[in-house]
Symmetry: C2
Subunit: 453 residues, 2 copies
């Protein structure tokens, strides 16, 4: 950590002095991801200064490793010609990701300026797909052989193709029309005589996805079957690209982080180093929603103000009831959201709700017992007017509130999921706020029935 | 989904009738992960019945795909001899994971019964490492060549080794003492003449980890540098194993899910289909903590009961204040926890707290403005005794509470992290409950100062 900051400072100084040799010394031999880390803390003009110094290939790799918002700022400062030189060096999927951030006009300029027309065509193809589909995750680089070749011919072709591919994972086998037939494992390649025809040695047991399949289906398949690569075919079964596990790891982590953020009431990803403006954008919306929910709570409590005369101390219990309702609701919804994300929801809604009721009843009774015990031992000495009848009122309310909150927490994500909305929305302030309101309403209604105010 | 349930039902019926041919028909040609899915819903005796029918290799692969708690139940019902036959078929890392679940006595029995002594030795070696280290994630299967060989000799050796390895990712290069020197890329292998000496063609630029390095460091490295495999060396630099990205994906997802669970107030992973007992174990602890926090809130509010005479409606605002404090605290702590998990925390604590104060001030002022507006437009018509002075009191409290809650949310995870405790503990009910209490205390203290009750 320390070290990164020190080197970054030295780079900054070297930029000020335009001491390019010094800059090269500081980043020499470093991995593009490490160079990106060093540049991350600098202001955009300085990052662009360093990027322009680097050879095209390294510049491209460093840009690909930078955060998306920094990439955007850098692209704004580079000419279309410069961008196309960088894009030329990137893998097709990274190139497409970068170009997709440009304004429509500049997109065309950059693509036209790419010298390798094959590369340009591949990128244009990738730009068609939504980023949350298999097409959006795939790259065009892959190694494939024709089923009608023999191994000797195939190996010669593969050598050629391998030159353009960063890493060879699997050798795909296609027919004359480029339809995916199977794969030739590298292990098989190492252990097979060169004269065998491909048709006889390839493995036709192969997982694949369609370009339009959603990204989470891709992630699920790759994880379930421990796949390192997954070929992608179009509607006709033609082999059009390949998804590698490293891209999916990033996707899986981002999705998991999104769920966490939503549960924490953040509307977008933020890091502590982000600007105050980005922080406000992420944090204020849910706080406003919760505040509006708070107004409803105020109105609910005001509706029961007749309790103030004889049972004012009921109002001391509102945070306890609201917090329990919120906690139970979040627990239930979180379990549901995770199960939905994994596709693990098989049992019927009714059965699930019945189970939640039983569970809540048990949890509620234990919490109610603690409440009555603590009430008897401590609270009735401290709080004026707190008697057994009141303790019982709070206890009965607590059990009811827990049951209702757990049902809301289970039901809402299921409904959201059914209507195509990300159920994770329901794990954060939304479920807490609505359960606060329900909880308080139930509490005072039950109190009114028992205590008759 | 439907389909899985249908087939599972048919398997159940076939088991009842001991119609083994029918069982085979139902699972024929399916991937072990899919067979595991089918068995997952059955009771343990039935799962064991099917497992015993399967050929050893398939049985092993299916067991490896089952959940850990189901694995444990199955192992209890199998003899040591049966387990050793299954272990014989597993990759070393999976075998070690399985054996580590057995009681100490049976561990020895199983290992002694393994016929392939090399395999047994590898497993014993792996059992030494903590599961959250590189040693715990690695497998012993890999392909390596000696730097002193030529490519021809190397290829012959590789063919032999490849027979025992599920998938060949990288060919490691070692010296005569088995010390890791570098790697021979498969691409290079495809494009190099067979007569070249290994020494001249290998790449010495290789990432590696030590057996004792923590798992999260492994995950960070593999993600940052887009690695599909990572070699593991011992203290002397000897090549002892290899970690593949698919194992790390599972680790990354489990970690992300753990954070989500903690944020949601769950003490362990649970799924909707888990038993009521498991559900209670996961959910009750934090509910009890929050309930105890609730008692403190009751006492705090009781301490300000002198406000009941003239300013009773202050008590209507307690859920609003508590919820805001909780939400802000969770937001701040979640941002901190994610940054800590990624190792992205470079700036000093003081600077970070100052930033949180500024941010909270801005957010607080906006929320306070909404509060005064809503108060003026609606609340003062509805709530008796709610005037501008009271609105101002609530508004000032709201701003103060937001600032304090965000500081607590930022500071607590940092402290926990410093003392080696998982900071994610602080994102859930803990931070909500403590901020509820702080928030209410601040609210009524400020109210007392302004309204003088």
């Amino acid at each position: 950590m320390e070290n990164v900051q020190n080197i970054r400072k030295k780079i900054e100084e070297a930029i000020e002095l335009k001491n390019n040799a010094q800059i090269f010394d500081l980043i020499e031999g470093k991995h593009p991801a490490d160079i990106a880390d060093l540049l991350d803390g600098l202001d955009t003009d300085r990052i662009v200064y360093v990027i322009r110094l680097l050879p095209d290939e390294l510049a491209a790799d460093v840009i690909a490793e930078l955060d998306e918002d920094i990439q955007e700022e850098i692209l704004k400062r580079l000419s279309s010609q410069e961008i196309s030189e960088i894009v030329e060096e990137l893998e097709t999927d990274e190139a497409a990701d970068l170009i997709s951030e440009l304004p429509a006009e500049q997109k065309k300029e950059v693509i036209t300026a790419i010298e390798d027309t094959e590369h340009a065509k591949d990128i244009v193809d990738l730009l068609r797909y939504d980023e949350n589909t298999a097409g959006g995750l795939m790259g065009k680089e892959l190694v494939k052989v024709n089923e009608n070749w023999n191994v000797l011919h195939a190996v010669a072709e593969m050598r050629k193709q391998a030159e353009n591919v960063e890493r060879v994972h699997t050798i795909y086998v296609v027919d004359d029309e480029n339809k995916l037939k199977g794969r030739l494992s590298l292990k098989r390649l190492l252990t097979t005589s060169t004269k065998t025809p491909i048709k006889e040695v390839y493995n036709d047991n192969i997982h694949f996805v369609h370009v339009t399949d959603p990204a989470d289906e891709v992630a699920r398949l790759m994880q379930k079957y421990n796949l390192f690569v997954l070929p992608v075919v179009d509607e006709m079964g033609h082999l059009v690209g390949q998804i590698t596990l490293d891209d999916v790891v990033d996707y899986i982590q981002e999705e998991a982080e999104k769920d966490f953020q939503m549960a924490a009431g953040l509307t977008e990803e933020v890091e502590p180093d982000d600007s105050i403006r980005a922080m406000m954008r992420a944090r204020l919306p849910w706080l406003i929603v919760a505040l509006l929910g708070g107004f409803i709570s105020v109105t609910v409590l005001n509706g029961f103000s007749s309790a103030l005369n004889r049972y004012a101390s009921l109002f001391f219990f509102t945070p306890l009831i609201a917090a329990t309702a919120g906690n139970v609701g979040v627990q239930s919804s979180a379990i549901m959201v995770q199960a939905l994300a994994k596709g693990h929801v098989e049992v019927s809604v009714l059965k699930r709700l019945l189970k939640e009721i039983l569970l809540s009843l048990l949890n509620g009774i234990i919490l109610a017992a603690i409440l009555i015990l603590v009430g008897k031992l401590f609270l009735d000495h401290i709080i004026p007017g707190f008697d057994m009848k009141m303790a019982l009122t709070v206890a009965v309310s607590l059990v009811s509130v827990i049951i209702i909150a757990s049902m809301v927490g289970t039901f809402v994500p299921l409904m959201l999921h059914k209507y195509g909305i990300d159920p994770a929305v329901a794990t954060g302030p939304f479920i807490t706020t609505s359960n606060d309101i329900f909880g308080l309403f139930i509490f005072f209604t039950i109190a009114k029935l028992i205590l008759k105010f």
